[in-house]
Amino acid sequence: MNWGSAAEFFAMGGKGFYVWSAYGLTLAWMLYDALSAAARRRRAAAQADQP
């Protein structure tokens, strides 16, 4: 185990800003890409049902 406490974990040895901004943008963009692809498919499916 590398961390004595949750605060230590989030501090990342004083480099928390760099580590979490890397992970944060990666997570946000990957969620956006996945959700926008799913929404596009749902939209296309809804339009295909219309006469």
Binding site: K15, L25, W29
Partner: protein
């Protein structure tokens, strides 16, 4: 459908692909989530603090997988675009279009995670280093492909133009890969090589590889979903053209 009529081409039919991909996507998501949780656990709780860089090196567990996926997806995109062009295979061209946004995303994320890693370790967000510059060119190739196929109204002509651009751009991928060997600039050498012993602790390497498989499963899930959307969109526009 009789079993003996199943051939390599069976799933090249867009409606069949639509069904098969739809059945696979939930499993791919389960795989993505499972591998991500495992990889992050290894990366943050099992892998030790780096002796020279401290904790900031933990960016590697997304930086290297994102960079690999950016390059891999470009080659896969160019391959399917070429197949679609050469054999008039509609589905192949649709897959190429579906890959582009996800490939561009991974390339941009490789640049971003590299910038926030470079600042605390090299003292700069960006340098015109060979690997970084060639990766930026890769991002522009993706954006060029997306803009080009979107700009041409005739779908088949757009697919052909996109395939040409994707194929010309493929030359950039080996340049990125070997850039750290050919030019001795800022970016460090390869972390993993088939021929040499890994230059990092076994747990660090495992975490990085698990995250790579997680991104790979993610890419399949998203590309399949987006291809399904494109199949429906094209079917509709084909039906409208007949009306």
């Amino acid at each position: 459908m009789a079993l003996n009529s199943l051939t390599f081409y069976t799933f090249a039919s867009p409606p069949r692909f639509y069904g098969l991909a739809g059945a696979l996507v939930p499993w791919l998501w389960a795989l993505t989530i499972g591998l991500t949780l495992w990889g992050l656990w290894l990366g943050f709780f099992v892998a030790p603090t780096d002796a020279t860089q401290g904790e900031v090196y933990r960016i590697i567990f997304i930086h290297v997988p994102a960079a690999w996926m950016g390059m891999l997806l470009y080659v896969v995109m160019a391959f399917w675009a070429a197949i679609g062009w050469a054999f008039k295979a509609r589905l192949a061209s649709m897959v190429a279009r579906a890959i582009a946004p996800t490939g561009a995303m991974f390339t941009a994320l490789a640049l971003w995670t590299g910038a926030v890693w470079g600042k605390p370790t090299w003292g700069t967000w960006w340098a015109w280093d060979a690997r970084m510059t060639s990766t930026l060119i890769l991002l522009f190739l993706y954006l060029g492909f997306i803009a080009l196929v979107a700009a041409i109204d005739d779908v088949r002509r757009a697919d052909k133009a996109g395939a040409l651009l994707a194929l010309v751009g493929v030359v950039n991928v080996p340049i990125i890969y070997f850039s750290v060997k050919w030019w001795n600039t800022l970016h460090q050498g390869a972390s993993v090589s088939v021929l040499a012993a890994p230059k990092m602790a076994a747990t660090m390497l495992t975490a990085m590889l698990v995250m790579t498989f997680a991104f790979w499963a993610y890419a399949f899930a998203v590309v399949f979903t987006r291809t399904r959307a494109i199949v429906l969109e094209r079917e509709r526009s084909a039906a409208e053209a007949l009306r």
